[in-house]
């Protein structure tokens, strides 16, 4: 199977060039093209507070260092890589500040327990629980693959692993989700 390349009416590369040449409308197009996906990734990764600030920081970092982006990976993958790094930085500093234990998957499950009653679909709540019960790495890979539609190659770039490892994590995650739902 060959994947179709992403892209809208005008390629990210061309919009970047337009922005660098002084066209601020190109920046608006780039931000509106990728901002929602970045927000979803942040929320799926457990970010609850200041998601917009996180997305903004991601774009500010990215646009401030566009010289380092030469288009080998997609801009989208590069933005996710930056956002992921910012989330890791956030968590490290939170841990340092509060000297508290990291967010374990079980904590998040408890959080969703309270939400269960509000969910219209029981099946959806169970699926949500199944996904939340994954290990952090499985959860991250599974989320990028299913919610964002990333290829294994793109996941490998964002997470800093190999395509093969990403594939294994995805299939292990899928098996774990199925087992959870079959219980």
């Amino acid at each position: 199977m060959t994947l179709e390349t992403r892209g809208g009416d005008e390629s990210d590369q061309r919009l970047i060039a337009r922005w660098r040449a002084g066209d601020s409308r190109a920046a608006s197009l780039l931000v509106s093209r990728h901002a929602d996906a970045l927000a979803r990734f942040a929320v799926s990764s457990g970010e609850r507070d200041e998601v917009e600030e996180l997305v903004q920081d991601t774009f500010v970092r990215a646009f401030g260092s566009l010289d380092a982006f030469r288009g080998e990976s997609s801009l989208r993958t590069w933005l996710f890589t930056i956002e992921r790094r910012l989330m890791l930085d956030r968590r490290r500093s939170e841990r340092r500040q509060k000297a508290m234990v990291s967010i374990e998957p079980s904590d998040a499950v408890t959080e969703f327990d309270a939400l269960d009653g509000l969910l219209a679909e029981e099946a959806e709540a169970r699926v949500k629980k199944a996904v939340t019960s994954l290990s952090p790495t499985q959860h991250e890979v599974f989320t990028l693959r299913v919610e964002q539609g990333f290829s294994y190659k793109e996941i490998a770039e964002v997470v800093g692993t190999t395509e093969g490892a990403a594939r294994v994590h995805y299939h292990n995650a899928m098996r774990a989700v199925k087992e959870f739902l079959n219980e």
Binding site: A21, V31, F59, R61, F69, R85, A125, V131, T137, V159
Partner: protein
Amino acid sequence: MNDCIDAEVRDALPDLIHGRLSDLDTATLTAHVESCADCRAEMELLRQVRAAAPFAPRIDVGRIVSALPAPMPSPADVALSAPPRATSRPNRSFIWRTSAIATLLVAGSLTFANARRQALPVSAAKPTATVSSVAPAAPTPSAVASLPSAPLATSEVATAPAKTVGNSGSTGLSLTGGVQDLTDDQLQTLLKDLDGVKGLPSAEPEAISVGVDDTEGLQ
């Protein structure tokens, strides 16, 4: 819920949901899914996972755009963003050649000065000087403080022309003077020599990937 025995098909199901497959692959896979109960169940599960994704807040695009740093245009970007007919290839070539001449003069002067002193080995200051003259759009390290970025391998490239031209001996040009010391003919000869130099960097952007060594998952 069982797994379909076709691993390649299972691998492609998320791509089918996200519309990332070619028309042919989409048709082939859709036909398979319709005839395969396991794949239908897995597709339904994938849709539920997407539907169950937590709610993300709406992002204010304008606010983000206004917070972005000001762009630093480079000649290549201006060329890329310009209409196709307005080709700027000669200009770009001129810019490279001018930069290369500046590089030669700086490198030549430094070499000459070092030879005169006969004391110091080639210092680290030399490649630094040539980098700044060849790469006008320098990256902003502060902006990528926490991002590991690939080193700019321009110092080696930048010094290459100096070596090649300096050793050719065909022009007999002195590298210790300034541009103003050269006659028009000498400048032309020097430019011709530079055209033959293969060590000049391409104006095309080179691939640099952002390496992330964090293999730990989020959460």
